[in-house]
């Protein structure tokens, strides 16, 4: 397995370089260093000298990917791409274009993102699995049909509606929890309840339907019939045999998103004023802060690759028939 992981990590390097290159290209197709300087310096009384100074201080006065004025390796190394990208591979994110330490900001903002993401994931999983098992158990009955219809309805509603509707109903109309905001420590809990409820409810439709299909698929297999035929209790059939086998696709699906929980939720964080990494990324894009954008894209790519590797490893754990080679 170790050799497999090393090989996967080695494969990841060219992928990360490609992602970096693509981010760099897309960013600078839309923005030039002059544009970035102008946005950072404001709209009033900005002189060309100030723009040049801003660019020079942040290394944006160099060519993008090829420096014809240099010789040898300098043609590549004395460029914006090289200078801004190389350090990322050592997880040195450097400073944002307005001088802030990006690693420090990421570390600070990771906590609020996780504070929403982990409860949403755990509670959501519990509810979705329970609901899906219920539907599968009553397959073909009014419970199943109504449940599936409910799932389709829940899936059809936009995330924005859940957010605004949730804030209106629970925060404004019933006045049960704060409409938005965030605090540190235990005081954060009251601010997290509403976004977590919304995160869970908005995911019930799609996840429960998917999980229901997993359960139904497993329920039709011979080993379930055998388990029942040999006289096992129904609870044991359900939880020992059916659930553990249906959990394989569920767990692998969850593991792949685990690392991405760090990246936060763009919409929820914005509407609930939660200072997580999702809003950090959105803010950076709006402010044309290339340093943060490339750091977050790089981090997202790394986490996604880590997620995929974890999925492979998880397969070997939950399904003994699978071996990494």
């Amino acid at each position: 397995m170790f050799a497999y992981i090393v090989r996967r990590v080695a494969y990841a390097l060219p992928i990360l370089i490609g992602v970096n290159l693509l981010t760099f290209y897309l960013f600078f197709v839309v923005n030039s260093p002059d544009d970035m300087a102008r946005l950072h310096l404001g709209v009033k009384r900005v002189t060309p000298e100030a723009i040049d100074k801003w660019k020079a201080e942040r290394g944006y006065d160099k060519p993008l990917v090829f420096n014809a004025t240099e010789t040898g390796i300098g043609r590549i190394s004395e460029t914006i791409f090289f200078e801004k990208s190389l350090k990322l591979f050592a997880f040195n994110f450097g400073h944002s274009d307005d001088g802030r330490d990006i690693s420090h900001d990421i570390a600070q903002r990771m906590v609020p993102s996780l504070a929403i993401a982990i409860p949403s994931l755990v509670v959501g999983l519990l509810i979705n699995i329970t609901f899906a098992m219920l539907l599968a158990f009553f397959r073909g009955t009014y419970v199943d049909i109504s449940g599936v219809i409910l799932c389709v309805v829940l899936m059809s509603i936009s995330a924005m509606f859940y957010i605004i509707g949730g804030q209106f109903l629970l925060g404004k109309l019933l006045r049960l929890m704060p409409i938005s905001g965030y605090d540190i420590g235990l005081d954060a809990i009251k601010f997290l309840v509403l976004p977590v409820i919304i995160g869970v409810v908005s995911g019930i439709g799609s996840s429960s339907r998917l999980y229901r299909s997993f359960f139904l698929e497993e329920a039709g297999k011979d080993f379930i019939r055998t388990a029942r035929a040999k006289g096992l209790k129904e609870s044991r059939v359900l939880f020992r045999h059916l659930l553990s086998n249906a959990m394989i696709p569920i767990v692998t699906g969850v593991v792949v998103v685990l690392p991405l929980l760090f990246m936060g939720s763009l919409l929820l964080e914005s509407f609930f004023a939660i200072p997580g990494l999702g809003s950090y990324t959105i803010d950076a894009i709006n402010r044309q802060d290339f340093a943060i954008v490339r750091a977050m894209v790089f981090l997202g790519s790394v986490l996604y690759i880590v997620g995929l590797i974890l999925v492979d490893i998880t397969y070997t754990i939950v399904d003994p028939r699978v071996r990494l080679s």
């Binding site: 009033k44 420090h104 419970v143 404004k172």
Partner: protein, 742 residues
């Protein structure tokens, strides 16, 4: 086989379900019967409910809190409370009046000739080589507590030679154990003026000020050279001690007096002296923040200001919250004892003579979206609010005569409305370099006038601004010297004077002008081709569609086809800089209450393409420029008004802009929020505001009683779903495994 999915007759034990429901019922019963009066939706700690704290918000974190760089309104709302420039605007008086803040008096310039000889005060500007302002500050003013001033037992500055290991436990400024303070001296003001030229800072007014402050441009070159040498020697940016490098235009006279020397005359300097750009910065702070390790910890002057003002920034976490707390070393100031007529009746003089500031702490919370902000304001969790288009109908009712008032729901909550016409202008500009709409030929001029008549600004204000604006007649907004009230201020090129007031000229008149311009019925008289014009805009979102359609229809009234060229902000800026836009929209917000700050927007020397200035239309009229030069240095009075009127005639005739509108600010305040009077110039108004925390706490509790019964309903619904499901499950367990035919 007719078997069901799960069809064993045995049931599972149900005890745990019963226990679970019992537990949930008990918890819910406790939950529902809890009789605390405190609202559950309160976004602040309960312990603060009765404290003298003001609650506000910010949508975007400020880019700069260093006074040499902060310029935009979301930055100055903080720096204005922390830093104290020598002058400020009187809070209540109108027209806006400069009064001393830390200065002993408003300085008057002394004029010098080319040889340094003193000239009479009424000398013509062209005779004056230098203007000298001696500014004396009041003694006994101290800085806020700050680690940069902390001293050890030997009197040495404790934190000025920090080693890396000393920074191990330092993450914010508050992590430094010791703080200190010292008296404000004139040298701090001089130090800040020198910082305008600092090679590592980007002061937006350096370009402007280097044209006036003697030697500032050369000073920047010196500092640049020194900095380069330092960096080359040590391999890193070192502290640049500006005290070692004298600047001709800013010198210390004595401990409490400093001198600013300007080339020529520039009376507008006094307005700049009321902005944070000219606030004091102690060298200790500059030295402290320049130490290695602090920048890496995001501890910079741009993040943690050091001032003498009524408030100090104790929490700067723009990811969540920024907190201003009363400065314990504040030198003291009292609420103004006089205002303008009507202020006393409005209760604005009730606190006359009382010590400032009134509010102990101000908490700004991050609020990125309008809807949550508005709802929290209605719940009483924010003290003031603006009015967005979405909430306008909920807040404002317009009477049959156009009078504006609050809706019954707002009045029932004791909310008050404050309105003021902004010292701003939003206009549609013609690029004067464009071959069709630009230029100074009679044909182009009449074409611009025809379009200006056709664009119904009144309709725009009514539809898109809910009536919150007044049509502009020229660049100068109300409240600024040069604005003419009543009929005298009406632009007669576009309005007819009638008994019922000014009326926009008819569309037939516009069509007649268009024909005179060589485009009868919107077609080129020579080629017969339809006139197609291009409008460049960054407004490309779905919300902007209605506005753009409206604009297209305005041009269509003249049979002119308007092509909307939507573009992103960067491309738009590029087009403006290159002069390739044809028609565009732009705006300007006053820096200071002087007509020069608006009329310079059409000054030839400010042309965007030629000089990268603020004249986006690239308008250039020699007579206008001459009058501008004459007007800008004059004191307000009939003579200056006369020149302004002549300038107005020129630009109204040439019509480089469709004059657009001056927006009206509508803001709401709860009844417990006192002393609010819109002051569009003062950026330090926070100290005058007062809160009645007891009234607020009482109303918050009253407005936010939780509605608990839905929780019971929810539990009932859950039971209604789960119980039949469980019974169904039990029933299935008891069914035979297989029902045969016999």
């Amino acid at each position: 086989m007719e078997g069901t999915l799960l069809s064993r007759p045995e049931g599972i034990r149900c005890g745990w379900i019963v226990h679970l429901f019992s537990f949930l019922t008990v918890v819910l019963a406790i939950f529902l019967t809890a009789c605390s009066d405190e609202p559950w939706n309160r976004p602040y700690p309960v312990r603060d409910a009765h404290k003298n704290i003001m609650y506000s918000s910010f949508q975007e974190r400020p880019n700069h809190l260093d006074p040499v760089q902060s310029y935009s309104s979301n930055e100055v709302r903080f720096t204005g409370q922390i830093y104290e420039p020598p002058l400020q605007y009187h809070y209540l008086k109108r027209p806006y009046e400069l009064v001393p803040l830390t200065a002993s008096s408003v300085p008057q310039p002394v004029y010098l000739g080319a040889d340094g000889e003193r000239l009479p005060d009424d000398s013509a500007p062209e005779d004056v080589s230098y203007s000298v302002y001696d500014i004396r500050i009041q003694p006994g003013i101290y800085y806020q507590p700050h680690p940069a001033f902390a001293q050890d037992a030997e009197g040495m500055l404790r934190y000025h030679n920090l080693r890396e290991n000393e920074l191990d436990a330092i993450y914010t400024l508050g992590d430094f154990e010791f703080t200190g303070s010292r008296e404000l001296v004139a040298a701090d003001y001089v130090y800040q003026i020198k910082r305008l030229a600092h090679p590592h800072l980007h002061s937006p007014i350096f370009g402007l000020m280097s044209g006036y402050i003697a030697g500032l441009k050369e000073y920047a070159d010196i500092l640049k050279t020194v900095s380069k040498q330092q960096t080359a020697t040590s391999g890193r940016r070192e502290f640049l001690d500006l005290r070692e490098y004298p600047l001709e235009g800013a010198t210390v006279i004595d401990r409490y007096t400093y001198r600013i020397k300007l080339r020529g005359t520039y009376p507008q300097l006094l307005y700049w002296l009321a902005m944070p750009f000219f606030a004091p910065v102690p060298w200790e702070a500059d030295r402290f923040y320049s130490q290695p390790g602090l920048q890496e910890r995001n501890i910079t002057l741009d993040w943690y200001p050091v001032g003498t003002g009524p408030y100090m920034l104790t929490v700067n976490n723009p990811n969540r919250q920024m907190v201003l707390v009363r400065n314990p070393n504040f030198h003291g100031e009292t609420y103004p004892e006089e205002g303008e007529p009507g202020d006393a009746e409005a209760g604005l003089l009730a606190d006359a003579g009382k010590n400032l500031p009134f509010v102990e702490r101000v908490i700004y919370s991050l609020e990125k979206e309008d809807i949550p902000y508005w709802n929290k304001f209605l719940q009483g969790y924010y003290d003031t609010s603006g009015i967005t288009s979405d909430s306008f109908d909920q807040a404002i009712s317009i009477g049959s005569g156009g009078e504006v008032s609050l809706t019954d729901a707002m009045l029932a909550q004791g909310i008050e409305l404050r309105t003021a016409v902004s010292t701003s202008i939003y206009y549609t500009g013609f690029n004067m370099l464009d071959p069709v709409v630009g230029g100074y030929s009679e044909q182009a001029r009449i074409l611009r006038q025809a379009i200006s008549v056709a664009i119904d600004t009144e309709e725009y204000i009514s539809i898109f601004l809910n009536g919150r604006g007044i049509p502009a007649q020229n660049p100068i907004p109300p409240g600024i010297f040069g604005f003419l009230e009543g009929d005298a201020g009406i632009n007669t090129y576009f309005y007819d004077m009638t008994d019922s007031g000014p009326q926009r000229k008819s569309i037939d008149f516009a069509r007649q002008l268009l024909a005179e311009a060589g485009y009868p019925e919107g077609r080129d008289i020579n080629t017969g081709k339809p006139l197609v014009l291009n409008f460049d805009t960054t407004a490309t979102g779905p919300d902007d569609k209605a506005r753009l359609n409206w604009l297209r229809k305005q041009f269509a009234k003249l049979n002119i086809q308007l092509v909307i060229r939507g573009t992103d902000y960067n491309r738009f800026q590029e087009k403006m800089l290159k002069g390739t836009a044809q028609i565009f929209q732009w705006g300007w917000n006053a820096d200071y209450p002087d007509p020069e700050n608006f009329l310079f927007l059409l000054h030839g020397e400010q042309g965007k393409v030629e000089h990268n200035g603020e004249n986006a239309a690239n308008y250039k009229n020699p007579e206008y420029d001459r009058l501008f030069e004459q007007m800008k240095n004059m004191p307000n009075g009939p003579e200056r008004q006369d020149i302004i009127n002549r300038m107005m005639s020129i630009i109204q005739h040439d019509a480089p802009w469709i004059w657009g509108f001056h927006p009206k600010q509508f803001s709401l305040a709860h009844g417990w929020f006192l002393n609010t009077k819109p002051n569009l110039m003062a950026n330090n108004a926070l100290k005058y505001l007062r809160i009645d925390p007891e009234q607020r706490a009482m109303l918050q509790a009253d407005w936010n009683r939780p509605v608990r019964w839905p929780l019971g309903v929810l539990l009932g619904m859950l039971l209604a779903i789960i119980l039949p499901a469980w019974l169904g499950y039990r029933k299935r367990q008891r069914q035979p495994a297989y029902r045969g035919s016999h």
